[in-house]
């Protein structure tokens, strides 16, 4: 993880994180904090641990529809960013607008359209939204300019060593987001044999020639839930962010104070007992019927 982040996430670059309220690459985000990679532009939707980049003053710009932590009454992170002189520039659009920006990026076209956001104030404040007329019908549309982040990080349930990975559960902006990126890092709960991936190639996220690095990192989305792997521990995360003292203690002990995610999970087990983590695991797994291929 350390090497992949160091090589591909440069200070000042634009990063997309997958995981819209589901299975975000939080271990990768911790590593970015640990390496203190600064002046990042972050493109993301409903990711929670991006809050740490805000609190640690590593953001230059946020391209988002929503970030809970901008609500200064609720926690200490935006205030910390201000004090560090690193309150990010905001570029805002709606969630659908953001998904279209990334989709256009995936497609290699300069924009996509929707009627959403017409009549709203987003169009006045975001230069990457413009009103246009349809060449066939004349109707008004909001054009959303394409986004191609420098690097994208997606956490997945399983991947082969080449980066052919399976992700399932709700997909938020994962597919258009990761496909839009110039460089792709896959983090995964488990590295598996290529055959496991290729027996169900419909579920493969991107072909491996698109993947720059693959990192195995169990619990890589904690404190988020990840389908098939573990439930979320978000209430604890939200409580920790509320005030400076608990926040500072948390980042010192669980990010700067450890080498990696494995060490972090060990500390969590030490501090709270192994049952604290065990209760997050899937209690009643439901396995799907597979699909058949072959000839």
């Amino acid at each position: 993880m350390s090497a992949a982040i160091r090589e591909y996430v440069q200070p000042g670059c634009t990063v997309f994180f997958g995981g819209m309220q589901h299975g975000e690459p939080s271990a990768a985000i911790h590593e970015i904090v640990r390496q203190r990679i600064e002046r990042l532009t972050v493109v993301s939707a409903l990711t929670h641990t991006v809050a740490l980049l805000l609190g640690e003053g590593l953001l230059q710009k946020l391209v988002v529809a929503y970030l809970f932590d901008l609500y200064e009454r609720e926690n200490c992170l935006a205030g910390r960013a201000r004090r560090l002189g690193a309150y990010p520039e905001l570029e805002e659009m709606s969630h659908y607008g953001l998904s279209l920006a990334l989709f256009a990026g995936q497609m290699g076209v300069p924009f996509m359209t929707t009627r959403s956001q017409l009549g709203s104030s987003y169009l006045q404040h975001n230069p990457n939204l413009k009103e246009i007329a349809c060449p066939f019908t004349g109707q008004k549309l909001a054009a959303v300019r394409a986004l191609n982040p420098d690097v994208g990080i997606l956490h997945t349930q399983r991947s082969d060593p080449s980066g052919a990975a399976h992700r399932w559960g709700s997909l938020g902006m994962d597919l258009m987001g990761i496909n839009a990126c110039k460089t792709i890092i896959i983090t995964t709960e488990k590295i598996v044999a290529p055959e496991i991936i290729r027996r169900d190639p419909n579920r493969t996220v991107v072909p491996s020639f698109r993947v720059a690095a693959v990192v195995e990192v169990p619990w890589g989305a904690y404190p988020l839930h990840l389908a098939g792997c573990y439930n979320s521990d978000l209430p604890a995360f939200a409580a920790m962010c509320r005030v400076e003292s608990t926040y500072q203690a948390h980042v010192d002990r669980f990010i700067y104070g450890v080498a990696d995610r494995t060490a972090m999970m060990q500390r969590l087990a030490e501090d709270h007992g192994q049952p604290y983590l065990d209760r997050l695991k899937i209690q009643q797994p439901i396995e799907s019927t597979g699909v058949i291929n072959g000839y």
Binding site: A45, Y71, S94, T114, S116, Q117, G119, L171
Partner: protein, 258 residues
Amino acid sequence: MNYTLSEQMVVVAARLLQDGDAVYTGVGLPTVAAFLAKLTHAPNLTIIFETGIIRTDPCLLPQGVDTLPSQTLADKLSDAFYINTLAERGLVNLGFVGAGQLDRHGNINSTCVGDYRQPRFRFPGGGGACDIASLCQNWVAILRQKKIRFPERVDFVTGPGYLDGSPGARERAGLPPGTGPKKVITDLGVFGFVDGELTLETIHARAGVRLETVRENVAWPLRELPSVGETLEPTGNEIDLLRNRIGYRSGSVTESGG
């Protein structure tokens, strides 16, 4: 009958749903309302969450929109793109949104108060609220009512209501014809729209709300139906389902959708 104002709000919202509807709901009261409708008069309801979850069975009450319970045994797991294409196609009958503020013409603001670049107050942002407010056939806002949250004109239109309230304003802006806010449900009353203007329809009188309180908690002279009624109370069955089947506890989920 004992019930909370949150329960009253949920019940009003649930009754707006019709059997066979597809409804786009956010975390909190809207999801509870959808589950309640499903268990009462709308068994064929399809519930859509913005991270891509489409389900027809209720699930354990999500603490967020997206949880393993809300994903598991869903009818379809897709993404934020797919569910909005359903909405833009006109296939989503109703959307629920929360809002930081809501104005005289139903425009919502979940972005900021004051100048956009130097705001006096920052909300977390609109998320998918603009998409719901723009694209669903109709939408309903649910929020607690305080005067500061009901300004005459919002500083930032995060989600379009009837804009300046003039006839056809949404259509002129390019929004899909016939869409717009249908109801606003607060802890004080229920509002509709007449000529693009927020209009009080009923107050939660049985729960002790007075007309004066509703009027005092908007920042302009409130338009009212000629005869403002009393919000129909929750039935015993509804409260039983809410508390014992759905597991809803007032205060156990946050208010806002979208």
